[in-house]
Symmetry: C2
Subunit: 149 residues, 2 copies
């Protein structure tokens, strides 16, 4: 499961990215955890063996790992909070580029439930489904990232 340094090096080099020991250490910290760590978590962990590590390197490495496709960001919405007064049961269709959010009504999605075996772990209060993609305006520019608003 955990990639060896040489395997990871290959991934980086295929994308024209350089392979560094910091990058491997950060990868190892992320892949070795089931905690879905934050940047700060990874920084603290890796800092122990790389005392001069900077936050910037962690952010930078995570971007690269995402690009390569061996890590992902769970939190689509960490940039700013978004609110909704529509309390009807519904879900969302989200544009990854312009952050537009459209409502999505679908009974099947409303009725999803946890499998019985998983159910007793948590006291569930709800669920959400988000479909991600590119809206009609953004489809043509999928690869040109948009600046912050």
């Amino acid at each position: 499961m955990l990639l060896t340094p040489e395997q990871l090096r290959r991934h980086f080099q295929e994308r024209g990215l350089k392979f560094t020991s910091q990058r491997y250490a950060i990868y190892r910290a992320l892949a070795g955890s089931t905690e879905h760590p934050s940047v700060e978590d990874l920084y603290s962990t890796v800092k122990a063996s790389y005392p001069t590590l900077s936050m910037n390197t962690v952010y930078n490495t995570l971007e690269s790992l995402k690009e390569i496709g061996i890590a992902s960001e769970i939190s689509l919405w960490h940039d700013k909070a978004r609110f909704d007064a529509n309390q009807a049961s519904h879900h969302h269709l989200v544009c990854l580029r312009c952050k537009k959010i459209e409502d999505l009504y679908d009974d099947t999605l409303d009725r999803l439930a946890l499998s019985p075996k998983a159910k007793h772990r948590y006291r569930i209060t709800g669920h959400r489904v988000e479909f991600h993609g590119y809206c009609s305006r953004c489809k043509p520019k999928m690869n040109k990232p948009q600046k912050r608003r």
Copy 2:
């Protein structure tokens, strides 16, 4: 759909909260939009009619509206980014209090798809399902909010 001032006043007073004209204006701005606005969006909109409005009041009002149950925050994860190196298709079980994230494997969830009518609006690249609730440690303290880490 849009609550009248008197209806909204009732909601506030049932919870022992005071009803103010700012609060109604913010509610109106939120409920009158389909854009899933950010705090900044609401601030700008309402500021036009309340030139002395402060951000604080917008945050404060949104908290109250959430408490009352007539608005919700779409973005669970806006506080800080969280990462995952597990690229196997899976979903998440999230504790609303301690922010713990557990993996959830479920074929049914993996296979969700948009209804054909919705499908052509977006170029869909994926979807996620998040179940929310309280983990076993947090169940007993559901009402005692946790301080930031």
